[in-house]
C-alpha cells in the first residue's frame, strides 16, 4: 500500500514537471532587451517543451560565462532538421532576449550553427 502511494506521488510529481517548465515568455524574459551571443555549446538539455542549450561565451574582459539558452523543444528542433549531435562543441550565434532576473540566461529567437551556417528560427503564432 505504501509502495503504491509512493509510486502515485512520484507519478504526480513527474507529471507536474513539464507543466512547470512551460512558462510564459514575459514572466521570465524581457522583450525590450534583445541580445546576440556567440560562443561554443558545452552542454545540452534535449527536452520538451523547451530545449536548453548551454553556451560558453567569452566576455569583453576575456572571462568565459556559461549562458543558459532556452529554445523551442527537441521535437520542433528535430522537425527543423537539427539533431542533438549538431550541437556539442559547436560554435553558435544566438539571437534572443535577456532574462529579467539578470542571470546569464536568454530565450532564443534564432540560432545559427556557425560552421554549417544552418539556422533555426523559433516561431510562435502570437503577435509581437
Amino acid at each position: 500500500m505504501r509502495a503504491l502511494a509512493t509510486l502515485s506521488c512520484g507519478f504526480l510529481l513527474a507529471a507536474s514537471l513539464p507543466a512547470a517548465a512551460h512558462h510564459s515568455f514575459s514572466a521570465v524574459y524581457d522583450g525590450n532587451k534583445p541580445i546576440t551571443l556567440r560562443g561554443t555549446v558545452s552542454k545540452l538539455g534535449w527536452s520538451n517543451p523547451h530545449a536548453h542549450i548551454y553556451v560558453d561565451v567569452k566576455g569583453p574582459d576575456g572571462k568565459v560565462v556559461t549562458w543558459e539558452i532556452e529554445s523551442a523543444g527537441a521535437t520542433n528542433l528535430q522537425r527543423a532538421g537539427i539533431r542533438k549531435e549538431d550541437f556539442i562543441g559547436t560554435e553558435v550565434i544566438v539571437k534572443g532576449f535577456l532574462a529579467k532576473d539578470g542571470t546569464a540566461a536568454a530565450n532564443a529567437s534564432s540560432f545559427t550553427l556557425v560552421q554549417t551556417k544552418k539556422e533555426f528560427v523559433s516561431e510562435e503564432p502570437t503577435t509581437p
Partner: protein, 161 residues
C-alpha cells in the same frame, strides 16, 4: 514691370523648394496596428529576431514626430523626435538607456536608435535603423537590428486604425 517680373521670379524660385519639401514629406500621424499576414516571418511570436511593436501611435508636426510604441505585455516606449535629425532621449523602461534621431529622406523617414543596458555579457548595445514608408493607409517599416557585429532585417506592415 521688369521689377515686378523679377520679384515674381524670385518668389517662384524661393517658393519652389518649400513646396517640393511639403509634397515629399508624408504625414505618418495616426494609430497603426501591426498586420502579421503582410509582414515578414521573422517578426512572429514572443521572440522575434527583429522586435516590432504591435501598435504605434504617431503625431507629426512640421518639426516633431511623437511616437508611442506598444508591444504585448511590455511597457510602452515613447519618444518625441526632432525632424532636424538632432539626438533625443527615448523614454524607456528602467535599466534601459535609449537615444535616437529621425530625419526625412525624400518621402521616407529614417529613424535610428541606440539601446543600451547591462547584462552578464557586459554593457550591451543594440542599434536599430528603421525606414518608414507610407502607401495610403498602409505603413511599412523596414528595420535592421545590429548587435555584436551581427545584423538582421525584417519588414513590418501596419494598417491605419
Amino acid at each position: 514691370m521688369k521689377r515686378v517680373a523679377v520679384a515674381l521670379g524670385l518668389v517662384f524660385v524661393l517658393g519652389a523648394p518649400f513646396e517640393a519639401l511639403a509634397q515629399e514629406r508624408p504625414d505618418f500621424s495616426g494609430t497603426w496596428k501591426f498586420n502579421q499576414g503582410k509582414s515578414t516571418p521573422g517578426i512572429a511570436g514572443n521572440t522575434p529576431i527583429v522586435p516590432f511593436p504591435s501598435q504605434i501611435v504617431v503625431k507629426q508636426t512640421s518639426s516633431e514626430l511623437y511616437v508611442e510604441s506598444t508591444s504585448v505585455r511590455q511597457a510602452p516606449l515613447t519618444v518625441v523626435f526632432k525632424l532636424d535629425g538632432s539626438k533625443v532621449t527615448v523614454q524607456a523602461p528602467r535599466g534601459i538607456t535609449e537615444t535616437g534621431e529621425a530625419r526625412f529622406d525624400g518621402a521616407t523617414l529614417i529613424v535610428t536608435t541606440r539601446r543600451s543596458f547591462s547584462s552578464p555579457a557586459g554593457e550591451t548595445v543594440v542599434d536599430f535603423r528603421e525606414t518608414w514608408r507610407l502607401n495610403g493607409s498602409v505603413l511599412s517599416i523596414e528595420k535592421t537590428r545590429t548587435q555584436s557585429g551581427d545584423s538582421a532585417t525584417e519588414t513590418a506592415v501596419y494598417d491605419k486604425v
